[in-house]
Symmetry: none
Subunit: 268 residues, 2 copies
C-alpha cells in the first residue's frame, strides 16, 4: 500500500538523435515524465526541474564533462545519475563513478537496459530515503495525509481505520473518475474480488458516515449505479453550512438531507 504514484522524472542530456528517439519512445510508453536536452544545462536549471534521475552522455560536454558531472552530483545528491556514453576506458568509468555517477553504460546499448539501470538507481535512492515528504492532499474540507494514514478536517482526525483510509486515498487519487468495484477491491485488498462480495459497499458506507460526521455539508463519494464509485467533493447546501462547528454531535437528525439516501430503516 502507501502506493503514492511516484512517477519518475528523468532528463536525458544527449545529442545522439537515434538513441534519444528510441529511448524517448520507450519512456513514453512506460509513462515516465522525461525531457530531452541536447546541450548541457546549468546545474541550477537541473535543480529546478526536480528530477529523479539523469541520463548523461559525457561526450556532449567535451573536456568539461568531468567538472560538470562532479558539480551536478555535488549539488544534487539525491539525483540518480547514469552516464551513457561511447567507448570508454576502465579508468574513465572509475573516475566517473568516483565523481558521483551511479552507473555507467557504454554505447551502443539497449534502451531497455538503460531504463532498467535508471530504475535500479532510483529504486535504491527511494528505498533509503526517509519518507517524510509526502505532501498532504487537500480536497474539499479534507486533508488526506499519507504520512499519517489518516484524514483530517481542520486538524481533527476522522479516525479512519487502515482500510477506510486506503479506500479514501484510492478514490481521492482518482478524483473525478469512476472506479469499478472490482478495480477498487483489487487495488485496496490486493487480490481479486469474489463474486457477490459486498465489502467495498460496506466500506464506502463507513467512509461516508465518517466524512459526514467530520465534514457535514459536503458530499464526497458518489454512486454510479451498476458500475462503482466516484470521488468528487461537492458542497451540498451552499448556505448556512460552512460554520466550522460541530454543534450538537448527538444523533443525525439532519434536516436538510434532501433527495435520496437519508435513513430509511425504521426497523433498524
Amino acid at each position: 500500500m502507501t502506493t503514492q504514484p511516484e512517477t519518475t522524472r528523468l532528463a536525458v542530456i544527449d545529442t545522439d538523435s537515434g538513441f534519444v528517439t528510441v529511448l524517448s519512445k520507450r519512456l513514453e510508453s512506460a509513462g515516465w515524465q522525461h525531457r530531452v536536452l541536447s546541450t548541457p544545462v546549468p546545474p541550477d536549471e537541473l535543480v529546478a526541474m526536480k528530477l529523479n534521475a539523469l541520463v548523461l552522455d559525457l561526450s556532449v560536454l567535451g573536456s568539461d564533462g568531468w567538472d560538470y558531472l562532479e558539480r551536478i552530483c555535488g549539488m544534487l545528491p539525491d539525483l540518480g545519475v547514469v552516464v551513457c556514453t561511447g567507448k570508454s576506458s576502465v579508468a574513465q568509468r572509475v573516475r566517473g563513478l568516483r565523481l558521483g555517477a551511479d552507473d555507467w553504460v557504454s554505447k551502443p546499448c539497449h534502451p531497455e537496459e538503460v531504463i532498467a539501470r535508471v530504475e535500479a538507481v532510483v529504486r535504491r535512492r527511494r528505498r533509503s530515503r526517509v519518507q517524510t515528504d509526502v505532501g498532504p492532499m487537500v480536497v474539499g474540507e479534507l486533508e488526506i495525509r499519507a504520512d499519517q494514514f489518516q484524514a483530517f478536517v481542520s486538524g481533527q482526525s476522522l479516525d479512519l481505520t487502515r482500510r477506510e483510509f486506503e479506500l479514501l486515498q484510492l478514490l481521492a487519487e482518482a478524483k473525478g473518475n469512476v472506479l469499478e468495484r472490482e478495480s477498487i477491491y483489487q487495488r485496496v485488498w490486493g487480490y481479486a474480488m469474489a463474486h457477490g462480495d459486498r465489502s467495498v459497499d460496506v466500506f464506502v458506507r463507513k467512509l461516508r458516515q465518517k466524512l459526514e460526521k467530520g465534514s457535514p455539508g459536503w458530499r464526497y463519494i458518489h454512486t454510479h449505479f451498476g458500475i462503482g464509485y466516484r470521488f468528487d467533493p461537492e458542497p451540498q447546501a451552499p448556505e448556512a453550512q460552512e460554520a466550522p462547528l460541530p454543534p450538537a454531535p448527538t444523533d443525525e437528525a439532519e434536516p436538510a438531507a434532501e433527495q435520496q439516501d437519508s435513513e430509511m430503516s425504521s426497523a433498524g
Copy 2:
C-alpha cells in the same frame, strides 16, 4: 542511523579464483572487510554477516540464480548487490536489475571498476542515511544522545539497550510520522521482517516501560492499529507534575507541535 560502520563489509560469491584473487588483493589494500564465498550461502547466513554489499556471480548458482537473487534482494533491501558474471544478454541484465540487483558487470572486467561500482552503490545507500547525526535531540522531557547511544531525562540515563535506543532514535527522527512495523524492522534490524515477528512490539513495550519510569506523565509512543507506531511526546496530565526541570530550550522541545490525531489508544 544505525551508526558506525565506516568501513564497508562486502562478500563475494564467485568461484573464479583468478578474478577473486585479484579482487581480494585490491580490497585488502583498500581496507574493506570482505569475505569470499565459493558456494551460495543461505540468505539467513548472509543476514548474519551484516553486509553492506555483495558481489555475486550468478553462474555459481546455475538455474537457481534468479530465485536466489530475488530472495536476497527481497530479504535485504539495504544490501547493495552487484552481479558480476560472464557473458549475458540484455534481457538477462534487465531481468537481474528488475529483480533487485543494483548493478551488473560483465566479465572480463577490471577489479577497480567492480570496486568503483560497489562504492557507487553503497554511497547511494549511505548518502541519504546520515544527515541528522550529531546534535543531541530534545523531545518532551527526553534528551536523545546519539553519541552515547542513550537517552536521558534530566541527566539521568534511561538505561536503554542498544536495540531499544536504535528503535527510539528511529521513531524520534520520524517525529509525527507513522512508521509501519515492516519499515521499523527493516531499518533497525537491517533486513526484512518475517511474517508474524513480534519483536517490534516487544521492544516498543520495553521502551514504553523505561520511558514511563523515567518520564512519567508523558506519552511518547502511540499505536496505530494495523499500521505501526508514531512518536510524539504528549504531556499526559498537565497538573500533578512535579515540573522539575527546565528542559533545554533548544529547537525541538515542542510538545504539542502537530495537531494531535486520534490514534486508537491501546489500553485505554
